[in-house]
């Protein structure tokens, strides 16, 4: 770390749990952020500010006026631009040292697998179940920790699926593919602006903890947040021994 970095990250370095060693881990890490919308915005902003070395941002969409109510990575002049380009510009304003790789597509197949394999940590900030399951499968295959967040209306869900711990469940253990049929979208249902900030910021916190190797993550727990009643709840999760994704082949 050079002098400017020591200064920039000094408030992290002051923390016993992070210090120079932890900050160095963050600088060497590569985070894959799937979705540059309501959750991906605050998540990527904090990862960049905190000094994650490489952020791979992927999203196939362009910025729409209706996104600006909550997707704080994008600004009014960016309407019509690809989200990943607008996002990269904002992240560089906050921290020009971060290497932002902008992938303007919905990742799947081999490309998704390769990006997951290259990542230190994966953040699922997407808006559909098909992608959530594809990302989960790739993370299980590559034994990469997955930080999953969802937000709709006033309700949020956050969890960590870290298959490096043998007893940890995967996303499919929790919500089997095909049973999560009722896809509710923000475009139809609406979403409370700061809810996406709260959930996305929690995802950034869990990702930074995973990279730095500190604290207790949400692995094996699902955190539920009700913004209307300001109520948090946490439920313990168990692995499904018969899970077709993470169970014995």
């Amino acid at each position: 770390m050079n002098d400017e970095q020591l200064l920039r990250y000094s408030r992290h370095i002051l923390l016993d749990q992070i210090g120079i060693e932890g900050q160095t881990r963050l600088l060497e890490a590569r985070a894959l952020v799937i979705g540059a919308g309501g959750l991906g915005s605050p998540a990527a902003l904090y990862l960049a500010a905190a000094g994650i070395g490489t952020i791979v941002l992927c999203d196939g969409d362009t910025v729409d006026l209706t996104n600006l109510q909550r997707q704080i990575l994008h600004h009014t002049p960016s309407v019509g631009r690809p989200k990943v380009e607008s996002g990269r510009d904002t992240l560089h304003l906050i921290n020009p040292d971060v290497d932002v790789i902008a992938l303007q597509s919905r990742l799947d197949g081999e490309r998704l697998d390769a990006e997951v394999a290259a990542a230190t940590v994966v953040l699922d900030c997407c808006d559909n179940f098909a992608t959530r399951h594809a990302v989960n499968r790739a993370c299980v295959r590559r034994a990469k920790p997955l930080v999953s967040g969802a937000a709709i209306r006033f309700d949020g869900q956050i969890s960590v699926f870290d298959r490096r711990r043998a007893d940890g469940p995967c996303y499919h253990c929790l919500f089997p593919e095909g049973e999560d049929v009722e896809e509710v979208r923000c475009a139809v249902m609406g979403v409370f602006a700061p809810l996406t900030g709260i959930v996305g910021t929690m995802q950034a916190a869990e990702a930074l903890k995973l990279v730095a190797g500190i604290g207790e993550t949400l692995n094996g727990r699902l955190l539920l947040f009700d913004a209307l009643s300001a109520d948090w709840r946490s439920i313990q999760l168990a692995r499904d021994p018969a899970c077709p994704v993470c169970g014995p082949a």
Binding site: F129, R153, D155, L174, R185, V191, Q236
Partner: protein, 89 residues
Amino acid sequence: MPRILFTQQLRRFTVTPEVDTPATTLQGALDAAFAANPQLRGYVLDEQGHVRRHVSIFIDGRRLRDRACLAEPLGAESEIYVMQALTGG
């Protein structure tokens, strides 16, 4: 005593009581909750009395695998959580 809880999302539509019940099976615990609010039944079960597809029930962190099997036994301190997967980002 086993306890049954419902996701906050359901609160938008109906009252979701937290019920402590001496029930020894999932069916018994659900019945106790439906007794407290009969409207809940339609949100959780379909016409055949099976758990609706988008509803997930966790008993002590374990997901109920068989939507038709409500005879699932409960422990003395079991916690049942009735919820739904969310997406949206």
